[in-house]
């Protein structure tokens, strides 16, 4: 048998099996294009320029999409093979050697693989660009996002999918090689035996899921622990697949054992029907679940981020105008206070010259100790020993605290006020420098604490005087330990500026305030000046979130559709036989509807559960962006879950109609 003949036979096979090959190729093509778009996102300028964390996060997403593509293509391939086996078995019986069958299979797979990879990359780039255009138009962000098309991205996609198609080829070839013609001939029927329940897999799945949940609940900092985070994601995915496949069979078998329940028209049809092909069924459901979780997380975090931009601004900039002060080491607290007074006067002058007035002015001084907090005492650590995010102790003089909080608290010389933001003082003594202080706890968060405090473990200490802080820092700043602690300061003021001149006031202040002697560095920022930048940054994230959400929703729709169609063809004969024996349309509808309800609720409920357990990670990630608003995140997430459920419901309604049409 010549090569040409094999090629012809393979091509003819594809054409004569259009009914199965067309959906398969289509599904593979769309999968390739989804992956291609995901890869392009990693290479996108916005992602590349932002931070390495973002690149890692998106690469993680790409790995998940890649794994998912592998599962999905295997899943669709198994439907294909089920139908092809009979034909291949017949070839075998009619005298075509297995060697040649393998050759034909190889050629068929090569053709389909090449077509879907080429088409998929092409389609992915087109769709990617179109959806970027659409989203740019929709969001009207200050900065236009551009979709990146590159040979690198295409190369990665091609390589990944060549691997995937090679695996399916190996699987298909093994199936043909290791089964005799009769089993091949029975083809479709094989594997329709009632599946065995495997409690071990179920327990493994449970363990995997619970460990994933536990990791995600206990991760302190998702950026620091990105590997751990990834592990949690993988464990949850594995757990979902195992529990769905093994668990559903166990549940269905239990239902079947309950005779009073099982021997009723609805359950009789649906339980046996589901059990019959539960393995594929469960994989499909797990696929949908994972995609749903990805959609929900991508959209809810980025929407929260965007909606919370004002809050971010409020947190970062408590007033319209902010000065951050840095001083050289050696300056004492009172010298810093004097500088602040000078700067305040300077600001007053500048503002009056501009034709406005300063309405309110707040300022405070602080020292930030960075190191390790142990046994109720703080110690410095050399930079090498330091953890990625170290402990922080924020020292603020009582005067400044009283000024900011509008209070008039008194403290003894050996007393401090303490606010715990991640670091706890267990006894009533606190060791700072060479001193031990008596601890009084503050209930409310002092306004001097910025949002950064949520990120690393922080202890806020209000000392009786600035001199006490001078003393403490002096104790830490020794010869052996060159790590210097210095005074910092913050100034916040509002002016009579209207919306119209707030920007130009900011520009003026920025240019004028820049220098203030050698000792004190002044860094001016206005909230309005930052607003645009934050909106374009968070808008960029929203853009990516919506894009990914859309991508995964399309994926979920694709799977649902494929699942319904293939199951429709599977169930068709069964339902028709039952109708011959007296099954009426009403019961058919009811039985299929109960299957559909399962199919609908299971992924959505599981996805919601996964999201709930991911909540703590999401919350912490958002803190990185100065959003510490659980209320907002929860509201947005619930809204996103509800909208996704609605969209999925529509997808389901449409595809169920397709299913019922095929069956009847």
């Amino acid at each position: 048998m010549g090569k040409l003949f094999s090629t012809k036979l393979a091509w003819r096979n594809i054409q004569s099996n259009k009914q199965v090959y067309l959906p398969y190729t289509l599904a593979a093509t769309i999968t390739v294009s989804m992956f291609q778009m995901m890869i392009s996102l990693i290479l996108n300028d916005f992602v590349q320029d932002r931070s390495s964390t973002l690149v890692q996060l998106f690469s993680m997403g790409a790995i998940v999409v890649g794994l998912f593509s592998l599962i999905f293509i295997f899943y669709t391939n198994s439907f294909l093979m089920k139908r092809r086996k009979k034909e291949l078995g017949l070839y075998n019986i009619l005298g075509l050697e297995k060697k040649h069958i393998r050759k034909v299979l190889l050629l068929e797979n090569l053709m389909i693989g090449a077509i879907s990879i080429a088409l998929g990359i092409f389609l992915g780039n087109i769709l990617g660009q179109l959806s970027f255009l659409f989203l740019n138009y929709l969001l009207q962000l200050p900065v236009v996002m551009t979709y990146s098309v590159s040979w690198l991205g295409a190369g990665v996609t091609a390589a990944v999918f060549m691997g995937i198609f090679l695996l399916t080829l190996i699987y298909n070839t093994a199936q043909v090689t290791f089964s005799n013609p009769i089993t091949l001939l029975k083809g479709g029927k094989e594997g329709e035996k009632e599946p065995k329940s495997s409690p071990i897999l179920f327990i493994l799945g449970l363990i995997s899921l619970i460990s994933g949940y536990t990791i995600s609940m206990t991760i302190d900092n998702p950026v620091q622990a990105i590997l751990q985070f990834f592990l949690a994601v993988l464990l949850v995915i594995i757990g979902t697949y195992l529990i769905f496949t093994a668990g559903s069979i166990i549940v269905l078998k239990l239902l079947k054992k309950n005779k009073a329940f099982y021997y009723q028209p609805g359950p009789f049809i649906s339980v046996s029907g589901m059990l019959y092909r539960m393995k594929q069924h469960a994989v499909g459901l797990a696929n949908i679940t994972i995609l749903a979780v990805m959609v929900i997380i991508a959209i809810s975090t980025t929407v929260t981020l965007f909606v919370g931009t004002e809050e971010t601004l409020e947190n970062r900039f408590p007033a319209e105008n902010t000065n951050s002060l840095m001083t050289n080491y050696g300056l004492s607290g009172s010298e810093v206070e004097a500088s602040i007074q000078e700067i305040t006067e300077h600001i007053d002058e500048l503002t009056v010259d501009f034709g406005l007035e300063v309405e309110s002015m707040d300022s405070f001084r602080f020292v930030n100790l960075i190191g390790k907090f142990e046994n109720d005492a703080f110690n410095t650590v050399s930079p090498e020993e330091r953890e990625f995010i170290p402990d922080m102790v924020l020292l603020v003089p009582l005067d400044d605290y009283n000024r900011m909080e509008r209070t008039s608290i008194n403290l003894e010389d050996n007393e401090v006020l303490v606010y715990e933001a991640g670091i706890e003082v267990n006894s009533d003594r606190l060791g700072l420098g060479d001193n031990l202080f008596l601890v009084n706890e503050l209930e409310d968060r002092p306004s001097v604490v910025g949002a950064e405090a949520d990120l690393s473990d922080t202890l806020v200490v209000i000392t009786p005087s600035a001199e006490a802080i001078d003393e403490i820092t002096a104790a830490y700043n020794t010869e052996e330990d060159p790590y210097v602690m210095y005074w910092q300061g913050g100034m916040y003021w509002e002016t009579t500026a209207t919306e119209g001149d707030v920007m130009s006031y900011g520009k003026m202040m920025q240019a004028a305030i820049g220098d203030h002697g050698e000792e004190v560095g002044v860094f001016y920022e206005s909230r309005s000046g930052n607003r645009e930048e934050w909106y374009s940054l968070n808008g960029g994230f929203l853009f990516l979130g919506l894009f990914l959400g859309g991508l995964f929703t399309v994926g979920a729709a694709l799977i649902t559709y494929f699942k319904q169609v293939s199951e429709g063809f599977d169930d068709r004969e069964r339902i028709q036989i039952m109708q011959k024996v007296g099954l009426d349309k009403e019961t058919t509808k009811r039985a299929t509807r109960s299957q559909i309800v399962w199919m609908f609720t299971l992924p959505i409920v599981t996805a919601a559960l996964h999201t709930a357990f991911a909540y703590s990670i999401l919350q912490k990630m958002l803190v990185l962006f100065s959003i510490n608003n659980p209320q907002l995140l929860i509201t947005v997430t619930i809204a996103v879950v509800a909208s996704f459920a609605f969209i999925y419901w529509i997808i389901y309604r449409i595809t169920s109609k397709v299913y019922l049409k095929i069956v009847e």
Partner: protein, 252 residues
């Protein structure tokens, strides 16, 4: 009023547009009394299965009508068709039509489940029937695990389990050895004696000799019929064989 009245029945299969279509039944008239046991014989492709499909409402005639107890089958509303199939009818399909996702027991129980029979009643009725058909040891197996003849007996059991008024059996002994065939036919005879009407398609003169009447069908028409009357089975069988030989036009 006859139990079943078939008048002027015609069935044309049109598959694709343009092609002329197969006339499976040209003109069929006959009637069946309650409690009769009728055999239908005829060459392959003569329209026997088609006739049974029409009698069982699985298909609709192109022309003509079938009356069951005076009521036209085409007048039965969609909703009641399923109920009719479920409760009045037992159909043994030529190609069995068993479901691979049910074990044999559940296959047999299917019509009872659809009729919402209490579990106890179902369980009680399946074993004696399976025993009489010799498949009681196989009830937990699946269709793809048993032989053709065993599948056929399951198909028979499924048709009989509801004790239907009318049993339509399409070559119910086609896959059986002579001993199982005889056993099955004895069962048919017994239930017929209890009042159930049976219409059975068969190619075997021995099988049809168990019935009260034989209809011969050719080219979509009933061209001959034989009554058993008071004859013994042997004599009736002899007569049937004769008719077949004569009708095939050769005296072999």
């Amino acid at each position: 009023m006859s139990f079943i009245e078939v008048s002027n029945l015609k069935k044309v299969y049109t598959s694709r547009i343009g092609t002329k279509g197969t006339e499976a039944l040209q003109q069929v008239d006959f009637s069946v009394e309650k409690g009769e046991f009728i055999s239908i014989m005829g060459e392959s492709g003569s329209g026997k299965t088609t006739l049974l499909n029409l009698l069982s409402t699985l298909d609709t005639p192109t022309e003509g009508a079938i009356y069951l107890e005076g009521k036209s089958l085409s007048d039965i509303k969609d909703k009641h068709v399923s109920k009719f199939r479920r409760e009045q009818l037992g159909f043994v399909f030529q190609d069995f039509n068993l479901l691979d996702n049910f074990n044999l027991k559940d296959n047999i129980l299917l019509p009872l489940v659809l009729a919402k029979t209490p579990v106890k009643e179902m369980e009680a009725s399946v074993l004696p029937l399976a025993k009489s058909l010799g498949i009681d040891a196989l009830l937990d197996k699946y269709p793809y695990e048993v032989s053709g003849g065993q599948k056929q007996r399951v198909a028979v059991a499924r048709a009989l389990i509801t004790k239907p008024k009318l049993i339509l059996a399409d070559e119910p002994t086609g896959a059986l050895d002579s001993r199982s065939s005889q056993n099955l036919l004895e069962i048919f005879k017994d239930i017929n004696r209890l009042g159930q009407t049976i219409i059975m398609v068969t190619h075997s003169a021995r099988a049809s000799s168990y019935s009260n009447r034989v209809l011969f069908i050719r080219d979509g028409k009933v061209y001959h019929e034989l009554y058993r009357g008071e004859q013994t089975e042997e004599a009736f069988m002899e007569k049937i064989t004769q008719s077949i030989l004569v009708s095939s036009g050769r005296g072999e």
